[in-house]
Amino acid sequence: MINYILRRAAYALPILIGVNVITFVLFFVVNTPDDMARMNLGMKSVSEAAIVKWKDERGYNKPILFNQSASGTKKLTETIFFQNSVKLFVFDFGRSDSGRDIGYDISQRMWPSLAITVPSLIVGLLSYISFGLILAFFRGSYVDVSGVILCVIMMSVSGLFYIIGGQYLIGKFLHLVPISGYDTGFNAIKFVILPVLVGLVGGIGASTRWYRTIFLEEMNKDYVRTARAKGLSELRILYRHVLSNGLIPILTGVVVILPSLFIGSLIVESFFAIPGLGSYTIDAINRQDFAIVRSMVFLGSVLYIIGLILTDISYTFVDPRVRLN
């Protein structure tokens, strides 16, 4: 088992190097630090001295790949590539363009993100599975047909409208919870409810339809026919056999996004003013803070790759037929 995990991690390394090179090329080669400085300091009338100063303060004044003037290993380490890209591998994110410690910001801001994403995931999973089961149970009937039609209609509405509608209806019209904002500790609950609810409603269409298909596929299999022939009730078949087998693709689909929960949702967080990593990224994009965007791209990729490894491992737990090799 441990052997397998180690081997998978070794496979992941080249991918991480690839991601690193891509971000490096995007941020330092396609656009040079000079361009960034000019962008940040205002476009037209920027003196050379100001640009040099801006680069000095952020450590962008080094050569890109190879430092001629340094000696020994410093030829390689005293470069932008090493200082700003290679160091990401040990999660040393450095400082943002406005001078803040990115690593510290991330460790602070991941908790509000988790406060939104974890309840969303749990509530969503429970309700989508129940809806999917209900539609599968009533397959072919009016309940099923109208349910599927409703799903297609709900899928066709942009997520933005769920957020705007939810904010207007629950926050502004009914005055049940605050429209946006965040608080520490248990006071945060009243700010969490609305984003979770909106996320839940927004995902109903696509997820319910998908889960329904999974359950229906299971219901057409031989073991279900056998169970029916034994005289089991339809409900019992649904819960004992179809649900437990249908959960395999659902759970493995969930495992891959588990690590990414730290990142949070860009849209939801910025709409509801949650001080998590999603809004952190959006703010960085709007302030054109390249260091933060670069760190978040790398962090996001690492978490996704961890998710992929976890998925492979989780297969062996839920489905004993799968062997690791």
């Binding site: 991918i15 891509i22 396609v30 899928m155 066709s156 942009s158 933005l160 990414s260 965007v293 791209v297």
Partner: protein, 466 residues
């Protein structure tokens, strides 16, 4: 003087490709049989009609030109710097009738009170009359309701008349081509005895035409969806946004298609190190979160554009470049799914006898892929084009909201929502920009979803929704 943007030329390339593909698929039984199945489905045909109208407007909006400037001298013609499309000319009424600021749908008065000077010289604070909204009415407070009802009913009437003519024309053409009498064809269509579900097509055509006629009739005297902050007609914005939505939905797939097909087939066909390299490539790209990659790229494009501001002749050209770039970036983040599917299919196909035979005869590898693999994966390509469309249209709105979508000067539903969002706090609420964007997006995406479901069911019975 015509102007051709890069996206325009790609749109026409796409249309040309569609026509070419239509004639190609007609001869291939395995491709045309599923389409016949699609044609039998009522919902699919209704959505196809709706999509057709959207595409029609989008294509009209892609024919750009510099309009002539009216001058005294007849010898030389001067072209204005402005770039207009054919759709702009058709919508001249909507485009040029600008108010001062917000006004509600179908209103005759402005949305907010202003200081008005009466003829007697007295100044009062009241809602000023709109310049164009309800302009023909002398006393809008009493007359506007009756006027609106009158315009709607006339629109209904015209719509019915036009759709009657159009449907009759279609039936006449059909009966000619089938060597039937007019009444037989009419009878067959209405009783759903035809291979194509003409009944639902006719129904949808009339609904759409009636809606257009009513909108047209109302917009002659009103702003049907109100006006926005700078007084521009919201209906005009929504109609102009159609092109952006369609471009994002179709060009993204078009841009990534050659790579996805070539890479997927090569990986599956050659296996070995080629397969390893290609798999590595798409796993790497896939592991970068899509939104962040788009954000990073758009950020860099902004830097590029502002550093090379002189290279662009006009704002429109710059906006067009950004639109194209967005399509490319979206394509890069979304080609991996198709590539993986094609690779798996190619792995299966390469073991089949006719491919082995071709190889044994010494047919070159690229020829085997082009002749024997490509036609047999075409259905997968088609399904993925249709399935991706609605997701991409929705993605555009979200991306524009976080300022990494299309250029702020481009008309798009995302930009409409984005600017309307700031007015949500107003009391009374400014809701019309949002609703217009909502309605147009919803209709397009719903039609695309229903159509793609039918296409998927027809082409891939294994994936059929049970």
């Amino acid at each position: 003087m015509p102007v051709i943007f890069v996206t325009d030329s790609l749109i026409f390339l796409l249309l040309f490709g569609l026509v070419a593909f239509f004639f190609y698929a007609r001869k291939q039984e395995h491709l045309s049989a599923p389409w016949r199945d699609v044609k039998k489905r009522s919902l699919a045909m209704s959505s196809a009609v709706v999509l057709f109208f959207f595409v029609f407007l989008g294509v009209l909006d892609s024919l750009h030109f510099h309009p002539k400037v009216e001058t005294d001298k007849k010898s030389e013609t001067i072209y204005s710097n402005e770039i207009l499309s054919v759709l702009d000319i058709l919508l001249n009424d909507l485009r040029l009738k600008n108010e001062k600021t917000y006004s509600a749908p179908l209103a005759s008065y402005s949305f907010s009170k202003e200081l008005i000077e009466l003829e007697s010289g007295k100044k009062i604070r009241d809602y000023p009359r709109l310049v164009y909204g309800g302009a023909t009415l002398s006393n809008p407070e009493n007359e506007s309701r009756a006027d609106i009802i009158k315009r709607i009913s006339f629109g209904l009437l015209y719509g019915l008349l036009i759709s009657f003519i159009v449907i009759n024309l279609i039936i006449i053409i059909l009966s000619r081509s089938r060597n039937e009498t007019y009444t037989t064809t009419l009878h067959n269509c209405l009783n759903k005895k035809t291979n194509t579900h003409w009944f639902s097509i006719f129904l949808t055509i009339s609904v759409v035409l009636i809606a257009i006629a009513i909108l047209y009739n109302l917009s002659k005297n009103y702003h049907v969806f109100g006006t926005d902050k700078v007084g521009q007609d919201v209906l005009y914005q929504a109609l102009k946004s159609i092109r952006t939505g369609l471009v994002i939905g179709t060009l993204t797939t078009l841009v990534m298609l050659p790579f996805a097909i070539a890479m997927g087939l090569m990986a599956g066909y050659f296996r070995g190190w080629v397969d390893d390299v290609i798999q590595y490539l798409y796993t790497t790209l896939n592991s970068i979160p899509g939104v962040l990659l788009i954000a990073a790229s758009i950020l860099l494009l902004q830097v590029y554009i502002s550093n090379h501001a002189d290279d662009f002749n006009s704002i429109e050209q710059r906006a067009d470049l950004r639109l194209l770039f967005l399509c490319i970036i979206l394509g890069i983040t979304s080609w991996t799914g198709l590539c993986r599917l094609l690779r798996a299919e190619a792995l299966k196909l390469r073991e089949i006898d006719y491919v082995q035979a071709a190889k044994a005869f010494g047919v070159r590898d690229y020829k085997v892929m082009f002749r024997h693999l490509l036609p047999n994966v075409m259905h997968i390509v088609m399904i993925s084009i249709v399935l991706d469309f609605s997701g991409l249209v929705l993605a555009e709105a979200v991306l524009s909201y976080i300022n990494i979508g299309v250029d702020p000067s481009t008309y798009s539903w995302g930009n409409m929502i984005n600017s309307a969002r700031l007015e949500m706090a107003r009391e009374p609420i400014v809701w019309w920009s949002l609703s217009a964007a909502f309605i147009f997006m919803f209709i397009l995406v719903l039609a695309a979803n229903l159509f793609s479901d039918a296409v998927r069911d027809a082409f891939d019975p294994r994936l059929r929704e049970l």
